[in-house]
Amino acid sequence: MTTTSAPAPLAADRRAAPAHLAVLAAACAVLAVSVLVATGIGPVGVPAGQVAAILADRLTGGGGTPGTADLVVWRFRFPRVLLGAVVGAGLALAGAVVQGVVRNPVADPHLLGLSSGASVGAVLALTSGGALLGVVTVPAAAFLGAAVAMVLVLALARHRGRLHPLRLVLVGVACAHLFSGVTSYLLARTNNAAAQQQIVFWLLGGLSGTQWSALPVPAAVVLGTCAVLVARARRLNVLVLGDDACAALGVHAPRLRRWLLVLATLLTGTAVAVSGGIGFVGLVVGHVARMVVGADHRRVLPLAAVLGAVFLVWADVLARVLIAPAELPIGVVTAFLGVPLFLLVVRGRGHRLGGDA
């Protein structure tokens, strides 16, 4: 090949990249503002300006001005809002990944039984009263449940060494129902009313009582996974084109699918472990991100993460103000907020359900 001219930036990159970067930057700005405002909302209201001042002081190494506002913002609200953002980002990423893996825009970690597997683990820990590992018992059990669910679904969905998206969905849906049945059974069997209430609240998810110590692990998992996924986004784009296209373009489809599912399980397990079974984020946000920036996972994944964070920050605000001083489970809010939003979006765009997928 003899091409002498210097490699010009590709035309599509030149044109499209700024627009999509602008969308992502705008979403990040919305997230930053949301975090500030949301941190101020609650029984003790703190104006966003004061929140910003307190955070600026704390983050620059200040000891904080003694007072209720500082305590409320720094000790209780800010870590909770941040964890909400992290969990939302993680669930949205997991949703977008699963949608790509099964080539179906209406998929999410629930569809593959990952979330319900995590619930089984957590409920087992709660009902057996096992304080084996102290406070980490429930999160660890939830994570383990998600992992077991993924291994089970993968093993059952494999057919002659191949992993087909449709079979994966069928097996996942079946296993999800099985896990829900197990959870219900455990719930019915326990006659400890306090444990029952704890379980129900946990199943619907919540961020109350979040402390700073809960933050580092999920944040590291979500950021790390996001980076790995974005670096693999071109291959994810090829995966969506089908197994023949993967073979043609040198992408080992079964291996890539397995790895992506491991990452989705890591994200789901981590999110469920710290916040319980929050539904609907992966489905709604992944879908909305696709509608905004198209099919390219290089754009979909980062945007889904940011939008998921915004969505859950506000869902958590509603959860703590709607019936204050009591709190709603956040899963109830994501359903009440997410479903109408989703239906609005789906009805507003006469959209296509992913060809043959």
Binding site: M1, T3, S5, P7, A8, P9, L10, A11, A12, D13, R15, A16, R103, A231, R232, A233, R234, R235, N237, V238, V240, L241, G242, D243, D244, A245, C246, A247, A248, L249, G250, V251, H252, G294, A295, D296, G354, G355, D356, A357
Partner: protein
């Protein structure tokens, strides 16, 4: 580079679709796979580009057994134009062509200087440069097919595999497409439905029927009245044009006007052995 298929057998869903298939395509040659629907053309191509692992036999591209290579290494040797693509219409022409660089990308999946050069050069060569920023959804069938060819070329393959590349193209675009492919100077193996196209463009014609190779050789040796009758169930008049290539005029084996008569005739014709009296 040369392609050697050596004793390949394949079953799909418990049904054997390829029986001990062997063929050789010389360096730089254009080989056409022809055969009726379900004869195993696509299955054979799938064993070549590693979408289906053959139960027995080997596929050698440039002397290397493709099933012993990694997926990425094999895709750097072999570029593929798939029969149909249902997804990915939101991507632009340029993004789609850049997908062809996937097997060449390093760890972080970024296009480097060479990747960009290759994409630009391929867009130029296939006449797609003016359409580069358009999404696939806005293109005609002929243009889209050219984009998928360009994607395969961006792999910088030594062997080009084409599965029914002229399906859904009108006659002008069929001819333009095959002219473009012929001019590339790479080894080509293409499943073709159009026998006239195979006669006009191929160096070698391989006839598949029921998963077996029933004839192979130059178009002139293979595309004969007997083969066309026994394999495809059509009657034909074959003569030779000025360049020595066969020219086919095809017509149905049965021309009974009454439906019952027609179908019984078709059944007999389809079963008739080569050269046998089927009419």
């Amino acid at each position: 580079m040369s392609l050697v298929v050596d004793g390949v057998s394949l079953s799909v869903g418990g049904r054997r679709v390829l029986h001990d298939v062997s063929l050789t395509v010389a360096d730089g040659a254009f080989a056409a796979l022809v055969g009726p629907n379900g004869s195993g053309k696509s299955s054979l191509l799938r064993t070549v580009f590693r979408a289906r692992r053959p139960e027995t036999g080997r596929v050698l591209v440039d002397g290397a057994d493709v099933w012993r290579l990694t997926a990425g290494r094999a895709a750097r040797l072999t570029g593929v134009l798939l029969q149909e693509q249902h997804d990915g219409f939101e991507f632009t022409v340029e993004e789609t062509v850049a997908q062809g660089r996937t097997p060449h990308l390093s760890g972080f999946d970024r296009l480097d200087r060479e990747d960009r050069l290759v994409v630009a050069e391929v867009l130029d060569r296939t006449g797609l440069a003016p359409l580069a920023a358009r999404p696939l959804a806005e293109l005609s069938g002929g243009e889209r097919q050219r984009v998928l060819l360009a994607r395969a070329l961006a792999q910088r393959p030594r062997l080009l595999v084409l599965d029914e590349p002229t399906n859904h193209l009108d006659v002008r675009h069929q001819l333009e497409f095959l002219e473009l492919v012929r001019g590339l100077g790479v080894t080509v193996v293409a499943a073709l439905h159009g026998l006239e196209l195979a006669a006009a463009y191929a160096d070698t014609v391989v006839v598949l029927d029921g998963g077996r190779v029933t004839a192979s050789g130059t178009p002139r040796d293979v595309l004969t009245q007997d083969v066309l009758r026994s394999t495809f169930g059509v009657d034909s008049a074959v003569d030779v044009d000025a360049t020595g290539r066969p020219r086919l005029a095809l017509r149905p084996l049965c021309a009974c006007p009454v439906r019952e008569c027609h179908w019984s005739c078709v059944r007999r014709g389809a079963r008739a052995p080569a050269g046998g009296a089927g009419v």
